[in-house]
C-alpha cells in the first residue's frame, strides 16, 4: 500500500514546493520596490545611438562606478525608432530604466502621462547651475523640469569635400542657396554616372523641413500646439526634393525609403551619397572611419538669408517616475553633465556640452571628427535662434507620417499635391488624437 501512495505524496510535495517558490518569488519582487538608499544598488541607464556613442558612454559609466562603488549601472542602447518602441513598452509595464535618454519631441508626451520625475526636487534633484536657461526650457513642461539636456546640437549639412572637388562641384559657402545645393549635387551624381548621388534625399525628414519653414519665418508648431504650416508649404518642399531625385542629384527611392536614423541604412554611410543633412551631435573619434572618408560641415542652404537653424537640446536625461533609486539616478546624471572627466570622455558624442563651464575645456582637448563638430558649433553658434517649445503630443506620429507619405512621392504613387494633402489630413488627426 505505501508503495502506491508514496509517489503521490512526493508529487504533491513537489507541486506545493513549486507553488511556494513562485509565491515567494512574487512576494520578493513586490517588496523590492521600496528599499533604496542603503547598500549597493543597481540602476538601469538606456539611450539611443550607435555603437560608437555606446563605447564612450560605457567608458564614462565605468568611471562613475569607480567613484561610486555602491552604485552599479546596467546600460543598454538601440537606434532611435527601436529605442522608443521598447521604452514605451517598458514604461507601460512598470519596468522602465531608471535613467533614460529622452527626446525633445517626446518629452511632453511622456511628462503629461506622468511617467517622468521632476529633476528639481527631492531625491531626483540634479545640479543644473552650469546649464543655460534656454536649454533647460526645452525640458520644462508645466513649470517642472522633466529632462536635462546634457548637450546642445544644431542641424548641419555635411559633405565629402574630396569627392565634391573631384566632381568640380562648388563647396557650400556663406549664404549659399538651395539652388546651389542642387547644382553641386547634380555635378557629383553626373561625375559618378549616378553611382554616388550628390545628396541623400532629405525630403521625407520632418526635421529638415522644419529648418526650411523657419527660413521663411514659419514654425513646425504654433505656441498653441497646432501645425504651423499649410499643405502648400509641404508641396513646395516636396517639389524641390522630388526634383532633385528625378534629375538624379538625390538618392533613388529604394535607398531613401530605408533611411531610419541608423548608420547602416544611411546612404551617406553606405557611400551611396556624397552629402546629407543631419545633427552635429554624433561625432566621435571614429566617425570618419565609419563613414570611410572625411567630411566637412556647413550650415543649411537658404534662399532668404535666414539659416533657420536653432540651438536644440540634443537630447535629455530623465529619471523614470517609478524608479526606486532616483537618488542614484540623479547622481549619474549629475556626473554625466557636470563632471570634467566625464565631459572629456564623452567629448562631442552627444553634441556640444550644455554645461558652459565644460565647453571650452572639452573643446580644447579635441582632435579629429569631434573637433570638426566643435568648430562648426563655434562658427554657427551666433546665428542660431532659440529652440521652440517642446512640441505637442502626437508630434512623434506626425514625424513618422511625414516620412511615410513622402514614400508615395518618391515611388511616384501619387501626385505631390495629393500627397501633401494626405499628409496634412493625417497629421491633423494625429495631433487631435494626441
Amino acid at each position: 500500500m505505501w508503495r502506491y501512495r508514496r509517489p503521490r505524496a512526493v508529487g504533491r510535495a513537489i507541486v506545493l514546493t513549486a507553488l511556494g517558490a513562485v509565491l515567494a518569488a512574487t512576494g520578493a519582487c513586490g517588496s523590492d520596490g521600496g528599499s533604496g538608499s542603503s547598500g549597493p544598488v543597481t540602476i538601469r541607464f538606456a539611450w539611443w545611438g550607435n555603437p560608437d556613442r555606446a563605447e564612450v558612454t560605457n567608458k564614462a559609466v565605468d568611471l562613475f562606478e569607480q567613484r561610486n562603488p555602491t552604485i552599479k549601472v546596467e546600460t543598454s542602447f538601440a537606434e532611435f525608432n527601436a529605442y522608443f518602441q521598447k521604452l514605451a513598452t517598458e514604461i507601460a509595464g512598470g519596468a522602465a530604466p531608471d535613467v533614460l535618454q529622452m527626446d525633445y519631441r517626446y518629452v511632453r508626451e511622456y511628462a503629461d502621462r506622468n511617467t517622468l520625475a521632476d529633476l528639481n526636487t527631492g531625491d531626483s534633484k540634479v545640479d543644473t547651475s552650469g546649464v543655460t536657461q534656454q536649454l533647460l526650457s526645452g525640458g520644462t513642461v508645466g513649470g517642472k523640469l522633466y529632462g536635462i539636456p546634457p548637450t546642445q546640437n544644431t542641424q548641419v549639412f555635411s559633405y565629402d569635400f574630396a569627392q565634391w572637388e573631384k566632381a568640380g562641384a562648388a563647396a557650400p559657402k556663406e549664404n549659399w542657396t538651395w539652388a546651389d545645393l542642387q547644382a553641386s549635387a547634380q555635378k557629383v551624381s553626373d561625375s559618378t554616372q549616378r553611382k554616388v548621388a550628390g545628396v541623400g534625399d532629405f525630403g521625407g525628414i520632418e526635421d529638415w523641413f522644419e529648418v526650411y519653414l523657419r527660413q521663411q519665418g514659419k514654425t513646425l508648431y504654433t505656441p498653441e500646439g497646432k501645425l504651423g504650416y499649410a499643405a502648400a508649404d509641404v508641396e513646395k518642399w516636396w517639389q524641390m526634393t522630388d526634383g532633385l531625385r528625378r534629375s538624379g542629384a538625390a538618392t533613388p527611392a529604394a535607398l531613401t525609403t530605408k533611411m531610419d536614423g541608423s548608420q547602416q541604412n544611411d546612404p551617406v554611410f553606405q557611400k551611396k551619397a556624397s552629402s546629407g543633412f543631419g545633427y552635429d551631435s554624433g561625432f566621435t573619434p571614429k566617425t570618419w572611419e565609419l563613414m570611410g572618408r572625411e567630411f566637412k560641415l556647413a550650415p543649411f542652404p537658404s534662399d532668404t538669408g535666414k539659416i533657420g537653424q536653432y540651438a536644440k537640446p540634443a537630447m535629455m536625461f530623465s529619471i523614470a517616475q517609478r524608479s526606486a533609486n532616483k537618488g542614484a539616478g540623479a547622481k549619474l546624471i549629475n556626473f554625466l553633465i557636470n563632471d570634467p572627466d566625464a565631459g572629456k570622455i564623452l567629448g562631442m558624442s552627444r553634441g556640444l556640452p550644455a554645461n558652459a563651464k565644460l565647453r571650452d575645456q572639452v573643446g580644447a582637448g579635441l582632435t579629429g571628427p569631434p573637433q570638426v563638430g566643435f568648430q562648426y558649433e563655434q562658427a554657427v553658434g551666433p546665428k542660431l535662434e532659440a529652440a521652440p517649445p517642446p512640441p505637442p503630443k502626437g508630434a512623434g506620429t506626425v514625424k513618422s507620417t511625414f516620412q511615410r507619405v513622402y514614400d508615395d512621392v518618391i515611388f511616384e504613387r501619387s501626385s505631390i499635391p495629393a500627397a501633401a494633402q494626405k499628409f496634412m489630413t493625417e497629421a491633423e488627426k494625429a495631433i487631435a488624437a494626441g
Binding site: N114, L255, K258, R413, A433
Partner: protein
C-alpha cells in the same frame, strides 16, 4: 480497469482497492486537475484573462499610461470608416494569406511525396527540409532574408549577372510582399512532416489495387493519395491559414518595423503593433485584435463548412 489488473500491487491491496472502486471518479478527477493545473492556470491567467481585458479595452480610449476611458464602439467605427491604412493592412494581409498558404501547402505536399519513398538518405532529407520551419519565427532568418533580397544582396547580384536589374526587392513596393511570401513558402517543413505522417497511413493495398487496375502515377495521386490524405490536407490548411493571418515577425524585421515601402508589407498584426506601441493607442489596437479574432474564426468556420464537400474520412463512405 485493464491497467489495474496488470498491476500486481493493486491486486493484493484488498480494502484500498475496494475503496477506490466505490469512488473512482472523484479521486481521479482530483489527480487529473492537479496535473492539469499548470495548463489550466496558464490558460486562464495568460490567455483568457488578457483576452477579456483586451475586449474591454477595445471599447475604451487607452494610451498605456493613464486609465482607460469608455468610448463605446468608436474604435470599431473609426477602423472601418476613418482609417485608410487599416484597409491597406487588410488588403496586404488578405493577399498574403491567399497566396502564401496554397503555395506553402503545395510545396509541403510535393516534397512529402518525394520523401515518402524508402531511401537510405531519407532521414537526412527530412531533417534538412524541416530545418527552416524550426528557424521559422526567428528574427535571425528574417534578417538574413532581408540582406539576401536587399539591393546588392545575393539575389539582386545573381539576377544582375544574368542581365535582370531589379534593384533591391525589399525596398521596392512591387516586390516586397513577394519576399515575405517566399520566406513563408520556404518554411514548409511543419506541414510537410504532417503530410509525411499522413502518407504513411495510406493502406498499401489501395496502391496495389490501383497498380493492378493499370493506374498511372497521376491517376493514383488523384484517386488514391489525395482522397486518403484529405483529412491531413484539411488540418494543414486550417492551421496554415490561421498562421498566415497572424504573420508578424518577418514583416516587422524585413521592413524595419514600418511595413513599408508605401505600406506594401503592412501586415494586419504589424499595423496593430504600430497603433498600440508607436502611437500609444491601445484601445484602438485592441479593437483591431478583436476584429482579427472574429475574421479568423469566420474563415475557419467557412473552411469547416466546405470540408464536408471534399474531406474524406476512411470508413465514412
Amino acid at each position: 480497469m485493464a491497467q489495474q489488473t496488470l498491476d500486481p500491487d493493486v491486486e493484493v491491496r484488498g480494502p484500498a482497492g475496494g475503496r477506490r472502486r466505490r469512488a473512482p471518479y472523484g479521486e481521479r478527477a482530483g489527480v487529473a486537475l492537479l496535473f492539469l493545473s499548470p495548463w489550466v492556470l496558464g490558460a486562464l491567467l495568460l490567455t483568457v484573462g488578457p483576452m477579456l481585458a483586451s475586449l474591454y479595452l477595445s471599447f475604451t480610449d487607452y494610451d498605456l499610461f493613464t486609465s482607460p476611458t469608455w468610448i463605446g464602439l468608436a474604435n470599431y467605427r473609426d477602423l472601418f470608416a476613418d482609417d485608410d491604412r487599416f484597409l491597406a493592412a487588410v488588403w496586404v494581409t488578405t493577399r498574403y494569406v491567399l497566396i502564401s498558404t496554397p503555395l506553402k501547402l503545395a510545396a509541403a505536399l510535393a516534397v512529402a511525396l518525394l520523401l515518402n519513398r524508402a531511401s537510405r538518405a531519407q532521414g537526412f532529407y527530412r531533417s534538412a527540409f524541416y530545418a527552416p520551419s524550426l528557424l521559422g519565427a526567428s528574427v535571425a532568418v528574417a534578417l538574413v532574408w532581408r540582406v539576401m533580397f536587399d539591393a546588392d544582396g545575393v539575389v539582386d547580384s545573381a539576377l544582375s549577372a544574368v542581365g535582370v536589374h531589379t534593384g533591391g526587392w525589399v525596398s521596392s513596393p512591387r516586390y516586397s510582399l513577394g519576399v515575405l511570401i517566399a520566406l513563408s513558402v520556404w518554411q514548409f517543413g511543419a506541414p510537410m512532416v504532417i503530410f509525411l505522417a499522413g502518407l504513411k497511413q495510406v493502406p498499401p493495398e489501395l496502391y496495389d489495387a490501383a497498380a493492378v487496375d493499370g493506374a498511372g502515377w497521376w491517376r493514383t495521386l488523384r484517386s488514391v493519395t489525395l482522397p486518403m490524405l484529405s483529412p491531413v490536407i484539411f488540418f494543414n490548411l486550417v492551421l496554415e491559414t490561421i498562421h498566415a493571418f497572424q504573420a508578424f515577425t518577418a514583416a516587422f524585421v524585413v521592413s524595419g518595423g514600418r511595413g513599408g515601402p508605401i505600406d506594401s508589407t503592412l501586415f494586419y498584426t504589424l499595423y496593430l503593433y504600430l497603433k498600440g506601441f508607436n502611437e500609444f493607442r491601445m484601445g484602438y489596437a485592441s479593437a483591431m485584435a478583436w476584429v482579427l479574432v472574429l475574421v479568423v474564426a469566420a474563415v475557419t468556420g467557412v473552411l469547416f463548412r466546405t470540408a464536408r464537400l471534399w474531406v474524406f474520412y476512411a470508413g465514412e463512405r
